[in-house]
Symmetry: C2
Subunit: 407 residues, 2 copies
DNA sequence: TCCTTAATGGCTTGAACCAGACATTAATAC
DNA sequence: GTATTAATGTCTGGTTCAAGCCATTAAGGA
């Protein structure tokens, strides 16, 4: 449990307001088991854990008292007495998440199963700095935080590197003014002890895995929005790297065969992948060709309306991406590649180029059973991943007791 | 515990030869703790585990009876009564490991601390197939397996993808005739239940971490020998990928600016990194220039003797490697990059090019504190990594009891 | 309605362990 | 040698939990 995240809890406990219901590590283990394996009967629980029936019942009683689990009314049908099923009580509390991008953010309220209950999209400019943006986040989330159930956790993603232990933004390339911002410290006072912060692409890849590819341990997500980034799950865990800057695929030198002068990237180098295939690069090319558009969404709209130039540019972008992703496939050997971000809404126009290059470049073994697809989560990947990340931390002895103390 | 690995043990137990000394999971946990944290006193153990003193003593007694731990004679000096120190009894048994390369292998005998006791290098040709090569391995290891202490585990690495759960070679690009070979099944009869098999570069990176970079969780090892490969440790664990083919950096398209025709790689594609920077590519270039050499070691010797052409080729190879490694740095954000393999013996000649490209291409955040060095283990990386891998599996309830049953 | 089946609940026993309270033991400082 | 100090040994409850034996409970089927 991070120091930052516990500040609120410590203050709470020191004020003498011990919660009436508390859980121990065994009970938490039970909740985690049920969360992972879906509805289970008492017998199932005993098999999974090796606990004696008495122990199972004791712990079940405690989770039921705390409202963490509930029996979803139903039972199974077999021959004899039907077994009661136990599942996470998703309505026991709620979470709030904010998936912050460079030019817009999606705020959402989810239940404890990570399902989105309400969602709001809002325009922002990340370059306005943490004071402006986080104020908007607090207001927006506050509006979603209806009473009724308690708020048990908050998740925030930002388009830059995050030191995951403390939730501090570190040396972000594009987030002007954010360096060193400790987001949990800014939000903790208003929203309680559990504030989870991650990089936007990391949140997306976690969301894809949690929602669609639950049994896949090696997953690569390419976000193609204004810029280009990658989120990696390897060995079933988010790959962050030594400084939290892993997955920086946008500023790899692109492998292009044209004789065209390598374009200047926002990072200061020449010929980065992003400078060919990012949303801003396509907008630049459209403008250069006399067809200026105002946003990446308009690029997507143009492609969907059959605009020839926009379509060609997106297909070219797919090929550039594909060449680089093919290298990443050799290095990481993922089982699934998901293409997300705004431009993934162009579907096959972008995917075709990616597939073409990957299939022509990668070695057979790395491609065996390789699945390549566009995200099907309609832009919710990040939000879902944040909810999942918060829940992973919530179902922990310390955090859960802190949450139960809230109500 | 893999099915394959337990065949020997099961047969043993069914024969009615129960071991006299057995350990439970708590005891094994103690051994692992001591292995990880070095010599500990009883008080240290209690602090680390939270166990009561009685429990600590009970478990210590069992490990001492089994000979797994011992007090290294000495004690600490403080004010009061000196604390007895407990450490893994490295001489309790021994391991045998075989680091098999394309054209040669290194066999070694190690103690339970993973220290090499004896080592033998031997020429082989991997393309002779599993029957010939594994026979040589069995003979060579048998010669190292002196009596005295029991043999508790064997490690084997091969230059190709391995399905780590079963130790089966799968779809190797260069190991003709090896596809589907289950190495534990071939060696288990002769060498007992615990046969650990891994890819050569994975073993190397584990060895570097275990021996030199114990506290580094994100490590990238580039092996530059006849071919080029990479071993990756991310989040403190070996990154194998979905099919065990992760780290295939040798067949990424090289980023070269010359107008020279892209060379044909052994994998059938044009312009792979290995076709520029691998040992065989440098031998080819030397031959093309009228200076043929017979082996990669002779390339190294030529550089060390100051041969101008060989030196230039190695430096060029370093640059090609560096460009590709720079991409990998962006993707993985390692804390340390180790250059290993035969060509790393050229030291700065190879490193200079690598460093040049990485420093000019990578983003500042990914390079912050990035450490780049040649391996200092004199070719023992793989052997040490194998020993470490075997020990990780040996110190497990099932395997340890199987081992204790052997003596 | 009665029987069979499978899931639960209750209760008792014994093993493993933690928490303390004291008693010992082995160095160091005077 | 004697006092001080820190590491160990030992012993006594008290708690947690696995195992096993029986009694209940709730469906489906004859």
């Amino acid at each position: 449990m991070s120091i930052v995240a516990l500040i609120g809890y410590a203050a709470h406990v020191e004020a003498g307001q011990e919660s009436l219901i508390a859980v121990d590590s065994g009970t938490v283990e039970l909740v985690r088991l049920v969360r992972e394996h879906g509805p289970l009967s008492r017998a199932d629980i005993g098999e999974h854990t090796g606990w004696a029936r008495v122990t199972v019942n004791q712990r079940l009683d405690r989770t039921l008292d705390a409202g963490l689990l509930h029996t979803p009314g139903t039972v199974t049908s077999a021959r004899g007495r039907p077994a009661a099923q136990f599942a996470v009580n998703a309505q026991r509390a709620h979470l709030l998440v904010a998936d912050i991008g460079a030019s817009g953010m999606r705020l959402a309220r989810t239940d404890l199963a990570g399902r989105v209950q309400r969602r709001v999209d809002q325009q922002i400019d990340i370059a306005d700095g943490p004071d402006v943006v986080l104020t908007a986040v607090v207001e927006g989330l506050g509006a979603l935080d209806e009473p009724g159930t308690p708020l048990w956790g908050v998740g925030v993603s930002v388009p830059g590197p995050v030191e995951s232990a403390t939730g501090t933004v570190i040396s972000p390339p594009i987030m002007t003014g954010w360096d060193g911002t400790c987001i949990p410290r800014r939000l903790g006072e208003r929203f309680g002890p559990l504030i989870f912060v991650d990089n936007d692409v990391n949140a997306m890849v976690v969301g894809e895995r949690a929602s669609v590819y639950a049994d896949v341990d090696d997953l690569l997500l390419i976000k193609v929005g204004t810029g280009v980034g990658a989120g990696i799950i390897a060995n079933g865990r988010t790959l962050r790297g030594a400084n939290g800057s892993a997955g920086d695929i946008g500023h790899i030198r692109a492998d292009v065969e044209s004789d065209r002068q390598a374009p200047l990237c926002k990072c200061g180098q020449l010929g980065c992948v992003e400078a060919y295939a990012g949303g801003w690069a396509i907008m630049r090319d459209l403008a250069d060709a006399g067809q200026p558009v105002a946003s990446v969404d308009q690029v997507v709209a143009a492609v969907q309306n059959g605009d020839a130039l926009a379509t060609r540019l997106v297909r070219d972008a797919g090929r550039v991406l594909g060449s680089t992703v093919a290298d990443a496939v050799g290095l990481l050997n993922p089982a699934v590649i998901v293409i997300g971000g705004q431009l993934s809404a162009t579907g096959e126009h972008l995917l075709a180029g990616v597939r073409e290059r990957i299939y022509s470049r990668s070695l057979p073994l790395a491609m065996r059973d390789l699945h390549i697809a566009a995200s099907g989560l309609a832009g919710d990947s990040g939000v879902l991943g944040l909810a999942h990340g918060v829940l992973d931390r919530l179902f922990t002895t310390d955090h859960l007791n802190a949450a139960l103390a809230l109500g």
